[in-house]
């Protein structure tokens, strides 16, 4: 028996080595993944661009597939459903309007349940069934970070709502953001507060901003405090006096975190979470009677219609400050917003989804559509690849998606926009008032 086993083991190891050497390889061979050395990424328009094709091509009968995957059954499901519906409604509308030069857009989704393992599985499935995947859309920071290298290696454009700096700039190259990375967001808001601290500071607060970072203990929740953002805050003279975490749950108790922030002398709270993450902080601040001692600010996802669903009272949201790197449903004079509103009504989406996710993903699909159109115009449909779409996004920059709902600029090696508004909740739902119109965020991307 033992003899058989040793034979079996030897043969097994030998076979595995031989077969591994002969096995198909992901094309092309990836760059080494050592951290933090970065994969070199083309940041300019392609050098050898073929001659532009004459006139719009007729791609009737062709199908171009956009893939997207995200958490629909895990902790981030609340925000993912409207994102998915936005993407799917946008694709449907494009097809009804004649498609992309006549080609039908298809969109395929996979639920990852918030599991990175499942995100990789979805990626493998999609890349396995399509010889030439062009664009994928992702929604989570963890997924973006885990897959960034694969997107770069396989030259597939990833348009992402998960705005982790690491996912965009470490071992990356093909991941493009729908908004500024979280370090840029915290930097923009803190610079704004620093500039006008006298106006916004709580009564009795010191002249110096003392920041408490209260957030989820996840890649997303901790995504705003990086080496670069810490250095930037220090340059602004802002001291991070407390770093606390709380559970990724709509019923999380943040009392201890808030009291620790108070004890540390904080006068500004930043939370890098979704609507329900901000809401628990605001609810607990009111419950503790400490709301007037802090300016509360969050990343862009914190200021959303969904926030009101989790607030104990709508008035608790008043005073929340966020970067706002897109227009809002109330900007009804914008044709992009009007278009999104038409889709929302036509598809009979529930009122609860009239939020940032739905709007932003219509812009995301528009961005993908524009990039593919540009790429087809440049290299022709027969040469359309993820690399061509990547180059199109760079070459088009700066540009506006969905008539200015999103302002993107992927030039100079940047893969995340650097323009944002800063808004404050000053009333009931949708009262997201502009404190500062479009302005440039600090550039706090990590060195590649």
């Amino acid at each position: 028996m033992r003899k058989y086993m040793s034979y079996l083991l030897s043969v097994t190891v030998l076979i595995s080595l031989v077969l591994a050497a002969c096995a198909p390889q992901a094309t092309p061979t990836p760059e080494p993944t050592k951290v933090p050395t970065a994969t070199p990424v083309p940041t300019e328009a392609p050098t050898a661009t073929p001659e532009p094709t004459k006139g719009p091509p007729d791609l009737t009968g062709e199908t171009i597939t956009i893939y997207h995957f995200g958490d629909l059954s895990g902790p981030y499901a609340a925000i993912t459903a409207p994102l998915i519906h936005g993407a799917e409604d946008a694709v449907k509308a494009i097809n009804e309007a004649g498609g992309l030069y006549g080609a039908t857009l298809d969109i395929k989704f996979a639920d990852t349940a918030g599991s990175i393992d499942e995100a990789v599985a979805a990626y493998d499935r999609f890349t396995g069934e399509d010889d030439n995947p062009l664009v994928m859309i992702t929604y989570g920071s963890g997924e973006v970070e885990a897959l960034a290298q694969r997107f770069a290696t396989d030259k597939i454009v990833n348009i992402s709502a998960g705005l982790s700096a690491r996912g965009f700039y470490i071992d990356s190259g093909y991941t493009f953001g729908l908004g500024p990375i979280y370090p840029d967001q915290i930097g923009a808001v803190m610079a704004f507060l620093k500039e006008d601290w006298a106006t916004y500071k709580p009564a009795g607060a010191e002249d110096d901003i003392k920041l408490a970072h209260l957030s989820w203990p996840t890649a997303f929740g901790q995504g705003s405090l990086t080496e670069e953002s810490r250095a930037y805050l220090a340059d602004l003279g802002i001291e991070v006096v407390a770093e606390e975490t709380y559970d990724l749950s709509p019923t999380a108790d943040t009392t201890t975190a808030i009291l620790n922030a108070q004890a540390a002398g904080a006068n500004v709270i930043w939370t890098n979470t979704l609507a329900f993450g901000v809401s628990v902080v605001l609810n607990d601040l009111h419950a503790l009677g400490l709301r007037d001692q802090f300016v509360v600010a969050s990343d862009n996802w914190g200021m959303d219609l969904a926030t009101y669903a989790f607030l104990a009272e709508p008035a608790f949201g008043v005073g929340l400050i966020s970067p706002f790197p897109y227009l809002w449903w109330t900007d009804t004079d914008n044709p992009g917003v009007q278009y999104a509103q038409q889709l929302f009504v036509a598809n009979e989406r529930p009122a609860a989804e009239h939020n940032v996710g739905y709007l932003l993903l219509i812009a995301g699909v528009d961005m993908a559509m524009k990039a593919m159109e540009h790429a087809i115009g440049t290299v022709g449909y027969e040469n359309l690849t993820g690399e061509a779409v990547h180059d199109a996004l760079v070459a088009m920059s700066p540009f506006e998606a969905l008539d200015g709902v999103v302002r993107a600029d992927y030039s100079a090696g940047s893969r995340s926009p650097h323009m944002t508004q800063i808004r404050m909740i000053q009333g009931g739902p949708d009262a997201f008032v502009v404190l500062q119109d479009w302005t440039e965020t600090p550039d706090l991307r990590p060195s590649e």
């Binding site: 629909l72 599991s115 963890g142």
Partner: protein, 353 residues
């Protein structure tokens, strides 16, 4: 469960009595199955190969849990945390120390085993529900450690990018290539787990599971054997964690979470506790259910277009929950038991009752 055999069929030597594979055709089937697994990358689609990779890694993790829970009766909800430990050890050895993955893998398994020993310490004093709580602590402490300790090395919540394994210049970067590693480790882990269950250690573990007081009276050192069970379970988890980390190519405190631990326990229940086949059945069935839920989601969405996305696309928890409930009610001994019954009925035919 001992095999039921027709009357008159006897073992004529000790080697035959101990043999796991008893007939030439069983050897043939085993070798053919292994060959089929190694040929799979050339024959199957990438998504299928990727799925088999995940099933293989899950089986290894569940085999460890089987040694602890199935054979020793110590319930643990910390298996995913030990995977985190193994994943980080391997990632650091490969990324920072320049080790080969193939050298780092066993060290990661042993390192996770040592971590498992620490969390196994309460097992002498507490059992049942209380032990579950003690092991649950691992699921909080280890991720906390990776987020807060040595930030310059572990990179806080952002985690680490993990290099792909390389052997003699061959990069195992595609699911197809990675499968060779997974299958090889799975074969080794299966041989080890099966033989542990047949050894003095395995018999001691079963004695502890069946009646720890009686086992102690008979001279079984409870503390020593329980710790050994925790160590082995964590070794398996560590190996699975290292395999998964290098397959995913990224690792942070969220990669292996409490939900994963619950899923592994569910896989073991579905497959069958205390059986070498249980992890194979359980991991395969649950992973296939997950895959099925993902694949059928879009189909259901088209079938019920006006329903909220999560209600019809995110069927995974529903599939898992219903399956677990079904097995707990109708076949609490798992698919492995059902398989043994089937085999017995076949051998004894036409007198199966």
């Amino acid at each position: 469960m001992s095999a039921l055999r027709p009357a008159g069929e006897f073992d004529t030597s000790y080697a035959r009595d101990m043999a796991t594979i008893r007939r030439p055709w069983q050897w043939g089937l085993l070798l053919a199955s292994i060959a089929a697994l190694y040929m799979l990358p050339s024959l199957a689609s990438q998504s299928l190969v990727s799925l088999v990779n995940r099933i293989g890694i899950s089986i290894i993790a569940v085999q460890g849990l089987n040694l602890l829970t199935g054979y020793t009766g110590q319930i643990s909800l910390g298996q995913a945390a030990f995977m985190t430990a193994g994943g980080y050890i391997s990632a650091l050895l490969v990324n920072n120390a320049g080790w080969s993955f193939f050298a780092a893998l066993p060290v990661a398994a042993l390192g996770a085993g040592i971590v498992g020993l620490v969390f196994g310490l309460p097992s002498l004093r507490v059992k049942g529900f209380y032990l579950v709580m003690a092991t649950l602590a691992a699921q909080f402490i280890i991720p906390w450690f990776t987020r807060n300790a040595f930030p310059e090395v572990l990179n806080r919540a952002q985690g680490l990018n993990v290099q792909v394994p390389v052997l003699f210049g061959v990069e195992f970067s595609s699911p197809q290539r990675y499968l060779y590693i997974t299958v090889t480790v799975l074969i080794l882990s299966t041989i080890a787990a099966h033989n542990v269950s047949r050894s003095r250690l395995g018999r001691a573990l079963v004695a502890i599971r069946d009646n720890d007081l009686a086992a102690e009276v008979l001279g079984v050192n409870l503390f020593k054997y329980k710790l050994q069970a925790f160590f082995l379970a964590a070794v398996y988890a560590g190996a699975a964690g290292a395999l998964a980390a290098h397959n995913i190519r990224h690792l942070n405190s969220e990669t292996f979470n409490l939900t994963d631990s619950v899923f592994y326990m569910g896989m073991l229940v579905v497959g069958g506790l205390g059986s070498s086949l249980g992890p194979f059945f359980g991991a395969s069935i649950v992973q296939l259910l997950i895959e099925g839920a993902t694949l059928f989601g879009p189909f259901f969405t088209r079938l019920f277009p006006s329903t909220a996305a999560g209600a019809v696309q995110a069927l995974r928890p529903l599939f898992f929950g219903i399956t677990l409930m079904f097995f707990l009610i109708f076949e609490p001994r798992g698919l492995a038991h059902r398989w043994y019954l089937f085999k017995a009925a076949w051998r004894l035919r036409p007198f199966s009752h």
